[in-house]
């Protein structure tokens, strides 16, 4: 199994200075944006994006071309790049920001040209200080060259980019929470409807919110054509995708591959296998929000649809391997604690439910569990996400609450014995 390098090619070819504009331009960087602005039309660009069949890389996997098509008409429209990468297990946007920020800026230029947008924001999570410095430096270089600002590339097109730093809130990765945060408010998700960003987004104006990896793919798609991109990968999961591999593997890291091979093959070849030749007990296929797969399910294909058909999600492309010695109750507790900490507090089922789940799991993990805790866990989960089905039903404004349910249902469906073994049998409550 080999990588297919589109987005990570520049950084592999020029490891020393791929983040600087001279190096980027030496390798034809910004030529696609220039050609686009001087010779193409917004409609043509949108057609290419639609033809590529690229789906959003933030987690939801919504077709990008369709999203762009929804953008309502208005004099003021905005593009917001979601670089609030915070899903546990995910570090793929970090490499794109840190090692190839000009590719993102070129993608932004083309996107804004296509959508007739004059102002873009890059919302970077606060903990990514170094990536933010790199992006800011790149933005300044692009301004100096006349690729941003007034009359870019000598055309009548204007575009400003502002780099905005978040301040430590996972929920701001949810697009409407991100917009509230960017407006200087608490990062609480908005109700959809009526606040669909494409209609009522930033400052209640039509706004495109796209992930870093999605927009970083735009220059390649426009340079080579949507049809070429569509040939990569498999139907429904076209193109390449950067997977962040972590956990008990020999070679953790970011790998850009065409979607379609199995998780097992991926881990054995690029991942170098599991540490100390251990077996996989369970793994997370798409970030902490995704239900787990068992170690005997490594033949599932890494596509959006295959993973969905097996009742989980490819999400942000974060694969976390847990070996046979992993304490899965502690692992689940870690994930549930994450969601309890990150709940914004607007919706009662999430705010109270995630905290309850954390307390019950803590009780079980520390050997103070009760037999009734098994049903209590499921009951609390059912109040957050009725029926415990996949995709989850919701009692909340956003999917954060139901995400905390994922590791619990995984434990209960596939590893119930392990949980029960931690509960002292003498306690009959």
């Amino acid at each position: 199994m080999k990588e297919t390098l589109l987005l990570t090619k520049n950084m592999r070819d020029n490891p020393e200075d791929s983040h600087l504009i001279d190096s980027y331009e030496k390798n034809n960087g910004y030529s696609t944006a220039k050609k686009t602005i001087l010779e193409s039309s917004p409609e043509k660009i949108l057609e290419e994006i639609k033809a590529s069949n690229i789906r959003g890389r933030g987690g939801a996997g919504f077709p990008t071309g369709v999203k762009w098509g929804f953008l309502a008409e208005d004099e003021d429209r905005y593009l917001v790049i979601n670089a609030d990468e915070s899903e546990p297990g995910t570090f793929k946007d970090r490499i794109l920001l840190e090692r190839d920020p000009h590719q993102l800026i070129e993608g932004i230029i083309i996107t804004c040209f296509s959508a007739n947008i004059k102002e873009a924001f890059i919302y970077i999570r606060g903990e990514y200080a170094k990536p933010a410095r790199r992006v800011q430096q790149a933005v300044e270089q692009a301004y100096q060259k006349g690729y941003l600002g007034k009359n870019i590339f000598g055309s009548d097109v204007n575009l400003d980019i502002v780099v905005h730093l978040g301040a430590g809130a996972y929920i701001c990765g949810e697009e409407t929470a991100l917009l509230n945060s960017l407006e200087g408010r608490r990062g609480e998700p908005r109700l959809k409807p009526p606040y669909f960003p494409a209609v009522k987004g930033l400052y209640m104006k039509p706004t495109l919110v796209n992930n870093v990896e999605t927009i970083s793919s735009v220059p390649w798609i426009i340079e080579n054509g949507g049809k070429e991109y569509n040939k990569l990968g498999v139907e429904g999961s076209t193109g390449t995708r950067i997977f962040s591999l972590s956990g008990h593997v020999n070679n953790p890291g970011n790998y850009e591959i065409e979607m379609g091979s199995s998780f097992g093959e991926f881990v054995e070849t690029l991942g170098g296998g599991i540490k100390n030749n251990k077996k996989v007990k369970a793994y997370i296929p798409g970030g902490a929000s995704a239900p787990w797969f068992r170690g005997d399910q490594l033949d599932i294909k890494m596509t959006i649809d295959d993973v969905a058909n097996n009742n989980s999600m490819l999400g942000s492309g974060a694969v976390v391997m847990m070996d046979e010695d992993t304490n899965l109750v502690s692992a689940a507790k870690s994930i549930v604690s994450f969601f309890a900490h990150e709940s914004c507090g607007q919706c009662t089922p999430c705010r109270e439910g995630t905290t309850w789940l954390e307390m019950i799991l803590d009780r079980i993990a520390s050997g103070r569990g009760r037999t009734s805790d098994m049903n209590l866990l499921l009951d609390v989960c059912d109040n957050i996400s009725p029926g415990l089905s996949w995709p989850p039903k919701m009692t909340t404004i956003c999917p954060l609450g139901p995400s905390a349910v994922s590791p619990i249902t995984s434990l209960m469906n596939d590893f119930r014995d392990e949980v029960e073994s931690l509960i002292p049998t003498k306690v009959l409550l």
Binding site: F91, R125, K130, Y143, L165
Partner: protein, 204 residues
Amino acid sequence: MSWDDKLLKQAKKIIKLYPQKRSALGPLLHLAQSKDGYISDDSISVISDLVGITEVQVKSVSTFYSMYKQEPTGKYLLSVCKSISCEINNSSEVINKVQEFTGLNNNETDEDELFTFEAVECIGACGGAPAVQVNYETVEGVTPENAINMCKWLKETKPDVVVADEMQENFGGVKSFDWAIQDNSGSTSTAPGFQTLNTTKVKK
């Protein structure tokens, strides 16, 4: 108003970046954090005047986000990740060792105001687990022993600027990816080492 002219000038420049003043609230709170090591009542008052919202509105935003500290922090904010990839790669031992060395519980600052300790949620360094941040400069693949060595180094040398690359070289291990060329800029406070001030915006 007790922000000096230089800081006020920076603040006004930040405000100009946005179509609406209130959008600058987040960056201004980072500025306040870098000035005092926490969001002081005084800064809240200054910011409320600058942005044109009430002090309560500023406070309600500042308490929502975990990077705006409501109490004074030490010179170094030690943030050890405890999320899933770090958790299954022994981050609890790193947390224990750092707590032992500093004598601090979660979210506590020592008497000398040198260290503030916190166990934090995912910092996006999962391939380099377990990961630690010092004033938001990331160090990856930190063993419990090296976590102690790093704390000792901070205590003995008290650098005014902490730089991710330097700490990674001395105390880090496995990384999420190749960091490439050495980067010498870092952080000088318990706010992230980042500012937008050189942005040359032309619109409006």
